[in-house]
């Protein structure tokens, strides 16, 4: 139980702050890799820079030294800005640096095991684990019913085939069996690896299903971004005025459209400003755009052909259509009037973008962090097996395949050694 676990400790979703907690022997060392300056003493919050792959975040960090923490282990907490994307990125950073995703209730379990909770809680915790088992079983059953589960079982089965053939080659060197060559094994492994990659790539969509879609509203000052936000929400949430630079900070609000949640982020108008606060707002606007799933680039000039500089997908919005005398120049854009509440087409377009082809309940979608973690580990192990096909001997290749297969089994719950042996005997005629 000495690996270091990480999880979001606050509720998922919109909140002022999100707390990501990491517990385990390595927690402090891991945190030091991406949070600086690291607090000089335990139990004191310190402001610093948290560097993730996508962005740097100003956050606060506090650490506790074992046994003086909730879990009784070394613990680090990051208090960062609320919202899903930030917390997600922080967790990913922890995972990349050696932490593993906590199981449900694992912090409490550790607290109990380390004697940090008194005995009267014991029954409750056992119940909790019990419930977890039941729900895990249920989740497992659900998983197996859907296509994702089926696909994973398929991949595992494919690996088991390759694995058992390799094991037979190792354990029965003198049988005249038609065994695959290292070349064909490698090819089959590569196919599995590709399919794993494809599955892993759906995790982005999985996040969409779970956390919603982040939509950044950007553009020059006074093009009506805040009005657009209000129109999209159907409330007067953002302050709207004719003064340029009214919106200083980013403002995030969610709305459900059919079965998808859109998290709209209104941002400060983009311009060079000497005002320190406004300049900061512009910086944040750019950051919001870069971490959004899609960017609404708003303009009020029908002749505007400019493109917002981001790698994210973007949609150009011609706002204030009620003032236009002629059709805007770019046809692949949306024309709306926030003032008259005529913005349904935006929601419809976004919905089309993210739902029609990608989010289909029957399609494959990784929504569970633990599953994603397993898939990614399995893929790494498979890559190691593929590399070993050229660089090492069959014993090593086989061991690496076995690891990849077992890791997939952590999702489906089936990777007993007996499975390999059963497969060997059902497929190959062996014996003296």
């Amino acid at each position: 139980m000495n690996n270091t676990i990480v999880a979001l400790s606050t509720a998922v979703g919109r909140a002022a702050i999100a707390v990501v907690r990491m517990s385990g022997e390595q927690a402090i060392e891991i945190a030091k890799k991406f949070f600086a300056p690291f607090p000089t003493q335990p139990n004191f919050l310190r402001v610093g820079k948290l560097s993730t792959e996508h962005f740097d975040e100003q956050a606060m960090c506090v650490y506790f030294v074992a046994p003086h923490s909730y879990t009784g282990e070394n613990t680090v907490e990051f208090h960062c800005h609320g919202g899903v994307a930030v917390a997600q990125a922080v967790i990913e950073t922890c995972l990349k640096n050696g932490a593993v995703m906590a199981q449900n209730g694992e912090f409490s379990k550790r607290a109990f095991v380390n004697g940090k909770q008194n005995l009267s809680n014991a029954e409750g915790i056992i119940e909790m684990i019990d419930a977890e088992t039941a729900s895990a079983a249920k989740a497992g059953a659900n998983l197996l019913e859907n296509n994702l589960g089926k696909r994973i079982v398929q991949l595992q089965d494919e690996l088991l085939d390759v694995l058992s053939a390799c094991e037979v080659a190792l354990d029965y060197p003198e049988e005249d069996l038609e065994l695959p060559t290292v070349g064909t094994a490698k090819q089959r492994l590569q196919q599995v690896e590709e399919q794993l990659s494809a599955l892993i790539s759906t995790s982005t969509l999985g996040k969409v299903a779970r956390y919603g879609i982040d939509v950044a509203i950007v553009g020059r000052p006074n093009v009506g971004k805040s009005s657009l936000l209000n129109a999209l929400l159907g409330t007067d949430r953002a302050i709207v005025s004719e003064i340029q630079g009214t919106t200083r900070d980013t403002l995030r609000e969610s709305v459900n459209y059919r079965d998808i949640r859109f998290n709209f982020v209104d941002t400060a108008g983009l311009r060079n400003s000497d005002d320190v606060i406004e300049a900061e707002g512009v910086r944040r606007a750019k950051k919001a755009a870069d971490s959004a799933d899609v960017v609404l680039h708003v303009t009020d000039d029908p002749n505007d052909r400019s493109v917002y500089p981001t790698v994210r997908p973007q949609v150009r919005i011609y706002n204030k259509s009620d003032l236009y005398e002629r059709e805007p120049c770019c046809v692949d854009s949306l024309v709306v009037s926030a003032k008259y509440g005529d913005v349904e087409i935006i929601k419809e377009t976004l919905y089309e973008m993210f739902s029609a082809k990608d989010i289909d309940s029957s399609d494959l979608l990784i929504t569970n962090e633990r599953h994603l973690d397993c898939l990614q580990r399995s893929k790494r192990q498979l890559a190691s097996a593929i590399a070993a096909c050229d660089a090492a001997t069959l014993d090593v290749v086989t061991d690496q395949i076995r690891l990849a297969w077992q890791t997939l089994g952590e999702i489906t719950g089936t990777s007993a050694q007996e499975d390999v042996i059963d497969r060997i005997y059902s497929k190959f005629c062996l014996g003296k």
Binding site: I129, L170, A392, D395
Partner: protein, 619 residues
Amino acid sequence: MTNKNFDVIVIGAGHAGCEAALAAARLGCSTLMLATNLDTVAFLACNPSVGGTAKGQIVKEIDALGGEMAVNADKSLLQMRMLNRGKGPAVFSPRAQVDKNAYHTNMKQTVEHTPNLHLRQGEATDIEAAEDGGYYVTTAVQLRYHCRAVVLCCGVYLNSRTLVGQCVRDSGPNGFANAKQLSDSLVRLGFELHRFKTGTPARVRLDSIDLAKTVEQKGEEDVAPFSYMTPSVPSAKRSCYLTYSTEQTKRIILQNKHLAPIYNGSINGVGPRYCPSIEDKVVRFADKERHQIFLEPESEDTCEFYVQGASSSMPADVQEQIYHSIEGLENAEIMRDAYAIEYDCIDATQLDASLMAKHLAGVFFAGQINGTSGYEEAAGQGIVAGINAERYVHGKPPFTLRRDNSYIGVLIDDITTKQNTEPYRMMTSRAEYRLVLRQDNADLRLTELGRQIGLVSDERYNKFLHKKQQIEQGMQQLNTVVSPKVYGSLFEQKGEAVTGAGLTLDEMLRRPNISAKDVQQLGYLQGLDGDALQQIELESKYSGYIRKEQEAIAQAAKLENKLLPPDIDYMSIDGLRIEARQKLDKIRPKNLGQAGRILGVSPADIQILIVYLAQVIHK
């Protein structure tokens, strides 16, 4: 007056019994070994070979602990091969053809000349607890012996019956008498019995085989002997021959399928999938056109050849047709019929890792009676049971092997943790730490343990220390940097790219085509023997993978080190699923690692046990 009082009685003188009796006697216990027939001592009832994949590793482990199998096989060698060359050091497996008669005679002599060890013909019929905490063992001729500990190594003799078609006989293997009453005694002592089956092929006359139709399989000259103590032995004295079954074989079997006991219901025992009879192969793998058959010499002093790959329980006349349909055996003269054999064995989950019955202190089991198959598996258990019988008698803590230090450890953990549904055969795929459990390092893994136990002689121990010291000496040199001027021509010659920069010896050894011998020829690693060089080379070449495995071992050790108190009331632990409660209650694992390997105990159950343990500790 004849002595009737012993420290240890070993029942059975097969491969498990001999190792158990030798270990107990060598460690100072007055030991009696009973056999139904003294001509069965170390009898190779099936194939005349020792070793093979995973089994060869076990033979080397027995040797490192100070056992006899390796030495005895080397003394009786007909040919030796190293299997799996080219598939990696983890699975290199030495396999010997041995002289069946010599194997028996050599082992019997060793037993006879071992101080403290008494060999006695006699069929044990009853074991009962004595008033003093020891046991009485009674034989069929009503002699009663007393002992402190008893080791049961009854092989396939308990209530056994052999089948050749409809001809069913109460008999042990090869017509030897079986043991009729001991099963009942075991039931009285609280043991659960299972019924397993196995089989053996016919033996045919060498001079009736048309060898021209077969492919000769010679031994390999350069394979090291099994034992670290055997200097070197000629390893290609006799050849084997490879041939194949034919379409006709298939036809005969399918026509007579109804006569096979295995298909007409007259066999009740569960047979091993890895050792199917020829009729089983043909029926289950109908697509396969032909099956490989190896013809192996039984002994230097007989014409008998073993027909490996063609065991059968068909009626004798059908057997004749089947064997005659094999290429080269058209006119073969059958000397012994093939037969299937059914026998009683115990549920080995009733034993702990020292192979002692959990509910009956001082009663040990080893070999096929535990539901395993194979001489090597039996011998590996035998030495562990013998050692532990001695330790029990002398009040020492039990000796157990682990999954991360030996195949024997994997074997004993598997059979005492998971209920066998068929005879258990060792395979390298059963070992999760295959890369560290190699045949070449069995001495490095286990000699020190054998020394502590007291079975490793000074001579063996000094050899081991010498090798270890040489390896250390070599390892210290691995960071020495070699200039391209020195290694350039070697690398070119071996097809390795020359970088222009200096390389350490370690970096050189990691190149696939560079061996430690090559490095030695450049003037490094001087004075090191071949054995030490091999270790250094493997540790370098596989260091990345070995390190990963060692990390996994360390990870697993955390669970292995969490001991489960023997008196846990599993049935009352809330949250455990019913199946898990029952399995845990029955098997009573020693630690959380073992608990996790029980079939039917899930990771969630283990979490609950962790919480439960913490609760107990904090109370």
